[in-house]
């Protein structure tokens, strides 16, 4: 599938789609005022690594694999890389290593198994997944249905011509999966609507990731965060990383596919550099938070571009 023209003959055939495998890039931007979510890869650090390994620009479209991976038949040969949550994968029955560019030949079948550590893996192909962009992005928006549908059996995905560098031949450092990640957060913007006790509780608690979590956000279980006043908040714009607190007092951590506006107050916003940790948190994982200044949150945010 090297250097195939955009929308050309190079393609990948989906034999089995896996649990939820979607095409993602860095998201749909500049349309939030029209209610269009950004979507895009949830773990942008793992996503951009996969692209770098195969010599793609960081925003080339790749596959986001959730929990159980797909089985894909390659119609033409080319370089591929698998990153993110740890998954056993086989190319024609032989182990397919993670975090390194691997050359696959035409007709070979790549079978990605279960993601056993972390939650999401990323598969980049040299040239990028060449589906047609919608509103400037190839991402599947799982909240509003914009963009290509999730992978289905029998679908052929075109491979694009976006490669700009050589494949990277060294194995990238394997990310450590922290069993109890500590995420940095900036207070507010609505911290003043909560009691002092709620703010202390937020950072003193090991919050449990519930199974009611998806690309939109992670519902956390733990003590109730009490509000100072019961008055309703007028709906306002939301950012990725927001810890929004609905009336039940349990925070929801917004991920890449969050809605553009919301009517519940945000007690804190997780630093962009720490969102990849949240993106890989499986149900049952315990997350902790600590407050940092805006300046501190900006440092080391480089791992998570827009």
């Amino acid at each position: 599938m090297t250097e195939g023209p955009a929308g050309g003959h190079a393609s990948i055939r989906v034999l089995r789609p896996g649990l939820l495998t979607t095409v993602q890039d860095l998201g749909r931007h500049g349309l939030a005022h029209l209610g269009v979510p950004a979507a895009g890869a949830v773990d942008r650090r793992a996503f951009t690594l996969a692209n770098r390994l195969v010599g793609n620009p960081p925003g080339a479209a790749a596959l986001e694999i959730t929990v159980a991976g797909p089985e894909l038949e390659l119609q033409t040969g080319g370089w591929m890389a698998l990153t993110g949550g740890r998954a056993e994968a086989e190319l024609d029955g032989r182990p397919f290593p993670m975090d390194v560019a691997v050359r696959a030949e035409a007709g070979q079948v790549l079978a990605v198994g279960t993601v056993t550590s972390g939650l999401r893996a990323y598969l980049a192909v040299r040239g990028g997944v060449g589906v047609a962009p919608v509103l400037g992005s190839r991402s599947t928006d799982t909240l509003s249905g914009i963009g290509p549908p999730p992978l289905e059996e029998g679908v052929r995905l075109p491979v694009g011509a976006l490669a700009e560098g050589d494949p990277f031949h060294q194995v990238a450092p394997t990310p450590q999966v922290d069993p109890e990640p500590l995420l940095r957060a900036v207070r507010g913007p609505r911290d003043d609507l909560f009691t002092d006790d709620a703010l202390r509780t937020l950072i003193a608690t090991a919050w449990t990731v519930t199974s009611d979590s998806d690309r939109t956000g992670i519902r956390l279980d733990g003590p109730v965060l009490e509000r100072r006043r019961k008055a309703e908040l007028a709906s306002e714009g939301m950012v990725e990383g927001s810890l929004q607190v609905p009336p039940d007092g349990h925070p929801i951590l917004f991920l890449a596919n969050h809605p553009t506006t919301g009517g519940y107050p945000v007690i804190g916003v997780v630093a962009g550099g720490d969102l990849p940790l949240a993106a890989q948190a499986r149900p049952g994982t315990r997350l902790r938070f600590r407050f940092v200044s805006v300046t501190a949150a900006r440092q080391s945010a480089g791992g998570a571009p827009v």
Partner: protein, 204 residues
């Protein structure tokens, strides 16, 4: 005007009222500050989001915002857009019962005002409208419908709105329009923009 950080690369600007939100939105669109990727209006706030490489520029913007010259309200109002509605919604009799008005009067009061699109959210192209006649305030349905067709016009509390796409929902449905509110193949994809004026008319 109070400016609050929303994480390390966004500001939530409290404009106070909706008109000022729209004037501020227009002023910032015009100013086009470096690195700003999203401007998201709410009922009383404007969210300003920068890309991570330009997050530092927000500090200067936060300082400059209170002194920013805003265009007059008349200059930023769009429209009015006309939305023709067939007032034959399933809940129209129930709305008439709840409000103590007859169906004809519900329609008259729904088509009388010029509404303002406060902002879009919930789903792409979904307008939050202000200007509903208080006599038409009705509670949501006790049991939400699992699927409401695109173009449905409904009432809930002090709000009236139009569903751009089929979705579940608990609003009381009074009619339906054929107007397409959101089409990803169109530029811009949404028919309405924040600050637009809107009128419902009886479809002929």
């Amino acid at each position: 005007m109070r400016v609050r950080p929303a994480g390390e690369r966004a500001l939530l600007v409290e404009a106070g009222d909706l008109e000022t939100v729209h004037r501020l939105h227009a002023a910032l669109r015009e100013l086009d500050p470096p690195g700003v990727v999203e401007l998201v209006p709410g009922y009383r706030t404007l969210l300003v989001v920068a890309d991570p490489e330009h997050a530092g520029a927000l500090d200067e913007l936060a300082t400059a915002l209170p002194g920013l010259e805003l265009p007059p309200a008349e200059a930023v109002a769009g429209g009015p857009v006309e939305i023709p509605v067939r007032y034959d919604g399933e809940d129209l009799p129930e709305v008439a019962r709840l409000t103590g008005l007859d169906a004809e009067e519900v329609v008259r009061r729904h088509t009388a005002p010029e509404y303002t699109v406060a902002f879009l959210g919930f789903s792409p192209g979904f307008p939050y409208l202000v200007g509903l006649d208080p006599a038409l305030e009705v509670p949501r349905r006790d049991t939400p419908r699992t699927s409401i067709p695109a173009g449905s016009v409904g009432l809930a509390g002090s709000q009236t709105g139009i569903y751009p796409a089929a979705s579940p929902g608990g609003w009381q449905l009074i009619g339906r329009t054929d107007v397409t509110l959101f089409d990803p193949g169109r530029d811009p994809p949404a028919l309405l923009a924040p600050g637009a004026r809107l009128r419902f008319t009886v479809a002929g």
